[in-house]
Symmetry: C3
Subunit: 336 residues, 3 copies
């Protein structure tokens, strides 16, 4: 299997074997974090992190990953990059990506709702970089997908549950004012269904997800002979769940007008306070793990006792971002 040079924009673009290769290496890297086997893999190489949107975990974990592999991650913000936009003259992605390919071993791109005019434009942009770049492009979260988060989630669930085949994950919308893109949720629908989980997706009407993602999830489940159900109440999905993933996402309607209506989204979101992960519901699960990609909106998406409880894997998963990203970078960017 040859992963050198490969882009990672969505886990669905990779085979299960390729994803397993990442997860294997990430597990070894977690065991032997500073082993000399790994510390020179990107020795003095540059990785560009292009942040159309700011971030917390993503910047910390990617920059840390490059450092631990012996390289250096440059923090770049397109607002200082004089890129061409509809409104102003500037450099094309064709030019920017080709030059960056001369300097770097790989390029990460983050582009979310408030840097685009419509859902899907972020994915187009990432794929435009991939078209022109001669080094691998890694999504650091974009409007559709968040592949490194998805892989970190799988690693975290396996650390507690072992083989995930036949386990049930409830992915449920939650209320709250920390509203944001559904990219992590969509990635998990895809990667959990690929890994053989039963998937239960719950949300109130108006929070529909990308139809293409839903279709792929349905196919993935079918291929594994597992279930995929979509429900619209905040309770029934908890029955028998092995993992609960409770998180707010914004509706796609917020994009349509070209001006992101975040205040309106928050107001709409707060009108559904019953969509929260709390102890009574968790008691109906199969002693489920609580998962969330963070930052957590405590008191809205989940109660404090669950987020900080012994079945919460949020910090482990956050740590796994580092290991998974190191593995992806090592496999795709380190010359064999």
């Amino acid at each position: 299997m040859e992963l050198y040079g490969k882009d990672l924009i969505c886990t669905q673009d990779w085979s299960v074997d390729e994803l397993e290769a990442v997860l294997d290496l990430a597990g070894q890297m977690k065991q032997s974090r500073f082993s000399p086997k790994y510390t020179d893999l990107l020795k003095q190489r540059t990785f560009f992190m292009v942040f159309y949107n700011p971030s917390i975990r993503t910047r910390q974990s990617f920059e840390c990953a490059a450092t631990e592999l012996g390289g250096h991650a440059q923090f770049l913000e397109p607002k200082s990059m004089r890129l061409k936009t509809e409104a102003s003259a500037g450099e094309t992605i064709e030019d920017a990506a080709q030059v960056m390919s001369r300097y770097a071993c790989g390029i990460g791109i983050r582009v979310l709702e408030n840097s685009i005019n419509a859902y899907g434009e972020g994915d187009d942009l990432v794929r435009q970089y991939a078209r022109w770049s001669t080094v691998p492009i890694v999504s650091m979260a974009h409007d559709r997908f968040h592949p490194c988060q998805g892989l970190a989630d799988i690693q975290g669930m396996r650390e507690r549950l072992g083989n995930l085949h036949g386990k049930k994950i409830l992915i449920t919308w939650a209320s709250g004012s920390l509203t944001r893109s559904a990219c992590s949720v969509q990635e998990d629908l895809l990667v959990c269904s690929r890994m053989g989980m039963h998937v239960s997706l719950a949300y109130p009407p108006g929070y529909e997800l990308d139809p293409q993602v839903i279709q792929w999830t349905r196919e993935n489940c079918k291929n594994n002979a597992h279930d995929f159900e979509i429900i619209h109440d905040p309770f029934s999905g908890y029955e028998g769940a092995d993992v609960v993933y409770s998180r707010n996402w914004m509706s796609f309607q917020a994009y349509g007008t070209g001006t992101l209506d975040k205040a309106g989204e928050i107001e709409k979101s707060l009108s559904h306070p019953e969509w929260i992960c709390e102890p009574e519901r968790m008691s109906r699960t199969n002693d489920a793990l609580f998962h969330h990609p963070m930052p957590v909106d405590r008191g809205y998406e989940v109660t404090d006792d669950i987020a900080s409880g012994s079945r919460s894997i949020i910090y482990d998963v956050a740590e796994n971002r580092l290991h998974v990203q190191k593995a992806v970078m090592a496999l795709t960017m380190s010359a064999p």
Copy 2:
């Protein structure tokens, strides 16, 4: 003595022996700056620098320190970190600190007057990080203290004066429009009195310092059988001084309202032009060193000839920030 894992929020929290261990190592590191003894101590480790407030020397010297120890310092600004505030949803310090502990060997925090609503809130915030973090927290200056500056000051004074026991330092308020926190001044009151100096503190009415710091300074001096005096004129403190530290600080009244009144502070400060370090006063000292943590407001806090003169130790002390911080990071963050 075991310093691995220890937070450094104020020198007063550490024993004199612990502070001496830092100063010893800082001296050796200054002698042999790039010795292989030191260049791998934080090999490929990540140090997070969390800047609630921007900085000049602090960012340069901490980032340089991490580099020289073989690691990498990430420059983080909370405004991009989606942290929870009174005004907006976001991540709690509990969550942020625990995740950062998974990535980093240590975390530096800088939080000054214009990021808080009242004096003392910065100290509370730093100690909240310390509560949740499992790696050491180092203050990179906060509203109450600035421990690395204090240690660099001691190193700089000793380089010229040798043993500081029984030497007299005048710490005097100065006029000027580069108004700022008293954290460096308060740290020096504490650390100079711990190191056995006579301390003379001078300021015009209205520029009182933290009562707790004054009380500790009094106790520290008493323990060493040395003097601590507070005076309110800009002249008499110079008599027999071995070191003069002339610097502006803002009054605590500026915090009270919740909206920092910097313009008012500057106006009030400029109404005291007689509070300046100048040659006539310096002639009454014991050929005193001139010290200042920089940036210097030349022409207001001190005349040019003194700031650039042969008795000025400002550049040496600025350099020592690097060595002291390397020593602190090596001792607290490098696995034994």
Copy 3:
């Protein structure tokens, strides 16, 4: 030849032999990019990048250069540095440069039109840093010059044409709305004429360049017994050219008022659409290379087919920024 400790503010300040030493080393570094001969030259040393103006290529290539030499480049923005300005209290360059010299092996400065009040102030500022710094100062582009761009251009032209003696370069103003400083153009006038090229400079009235640069270029050409002509039409200069460098620059009139009139400049620039590099004109050259320091304003400065065509050296030159800067840093900042 001893280059250690030398500032690089303009190629004209260096001898041809010194420039050739840089170009030789840059060529070797391009051949053996990660050879152990080079990867420890700035081992764990800090290089400060002081960006009064943001940048794209410059930040990427300098930060990458430091990484590949084993060091680390710190990205600093003076707006966070509390430097003294006419309008506000702060630190003098005297103080800032002397302290930075204690931490770093070298300092890069970028200061362009929108950070100054009049043409020439940027050059004064860079030379003020050079006066006080005890480590080398490198211009990362300032209002008058851009030496690393000039050297990268020479390297790129030689890769295709070999010896440049007697070759003709057309440097022509172009229309467009990506208006900017003439520093790269002025640097090329100087360095191309030093390297023995015939130089043809074309622009519409109102876009005159620095008279001192014009005089030096005239003298450089005369010393090499080559031609220097200035023309005012967008066609005739193409005749027999071996290299065409078509690029917009703003007029010096834009500076005079103290408030940069960028909108007015763009409007004036767009009134000259006939100033574009296009195939018909290129057919009259000696199969000329197309050169541009990027970002390219496609469709205005040059047509797409030429910018992306086989005679375009724009990406090679962009890559050469890295190699040239590594060579400059190695020769001036790595202790012999």
